[in-house]
Symmetry: C2
Amino acid sequence: MKIGIVGGTGDIGEGMVMRLSPLYDVIIGSRDTEKAKSVCNCTLDVCEKRGDKPCTVVGASNQDAVTCADIVILAIPFKHLVSTLETLECFENKIVISPVNPMEKRNSFEFVPPSEGSAALLVQKMLPKSTRVCSAFNTIAANKWRALDEELAYSVPVCGDDADAKRQVMDIVNHISKLQAFDAGPLAVSSMVEALTPLLLNIARYNKMRDVGIQFC
Amino acid sequence: MKIGIVGGTGDIGEGMVMRLSPLYDVIIGSRDTEKAKSVCNCTLDVCEKRGDKPCTVVGASNQDAVTCADIVILAIPFKHLVSTLETLECFENKIVISPVNPMEKRNSFEFVPPSEGSAALLVQKMLPKSTRVCSAFNTIAANKWRALDEELAYSVPVCGDDADAKRQVMDIVNHISKLQAFDAGPLAVSSMVEALTPLLLNIARYNKMRDVGIQFC
């Protein structure tokens, strides 16, 4: 299975690449292909040093990360979501994972969804009808993705309207470290998943914690 | 410290009474004072049988549960919140805890906040300026409150605008079983705490679980 990561050289994307490369064929997408190739080389070095099984990873453009992949992860901040999607095509029949959280830092972190109701619903609206969008990975902090020596012992709620796509996304989640996927319902209720992240950022801020995650129990 | 529980004979309220009575002076409020007295007698029996220290609990009206208490918990469903508060007075200078979650069961459970933004903000708007409102206990299921033989090993996010009131509420949370209070910021962001409950109900529903709770980690 080929996973393309749009924004694969960004804060969240780079750690995702490191975690996913030993498990799947990964295409690192970036606006700057040279940067993607650099992250690719770095990933190959890390995999070799860690003794992971040889990983298949290439550095490419964001468009290549879409075109060449079966599953595309949009590892980009909400503020760049629309402008990035407007430059990309070939999403037909693909599964797209949105880990995007529409939020703003005012006095506290606040959930500020678009008029569609959530970032995932906005993505579904912008992409072709044959694209199956799921939200997942919303609450895993960038630092945790990158900390390869730490287990990721978190719950991951997954929303989506297509049962087969959701099953595939949950399967990917369950293969990464100790992440545990939970079906959180259709995309229509993805706003409640996206609202977790500003909540967790507030919990971290007001309780002097770092990179707070969540477990359902 | 005297804690009054408005709706103390309801689904959530009854278990709260059982858990709080060995720790604090509790006034059970109900529209039906006889029912409150019956829950009171039941609580006294349970406390005696469990060998808890003698508990101080009385059955009364909802108004008494406000008038006689230092801290009032509104253990009522969102749909009865406004009509109940309209019948009650004497909230001046009290701390009020809202565990109320505005939600509806459509195809999935959905967070449907009032125009104020959250149930807690609506409560603050309806009550006198001297009343200090906090949201807390939003995600603890009624069955878990009642299951006295089970530890409550959950995280409890607490929102509020008054630092002293929030500290007192967090202190109460931390005295109950293994609950752990977390400062989740001002009341302005309480919607993200209230949205947790429909999310958890969806998680339970779509993953064949019961009474799902949450831990920050």
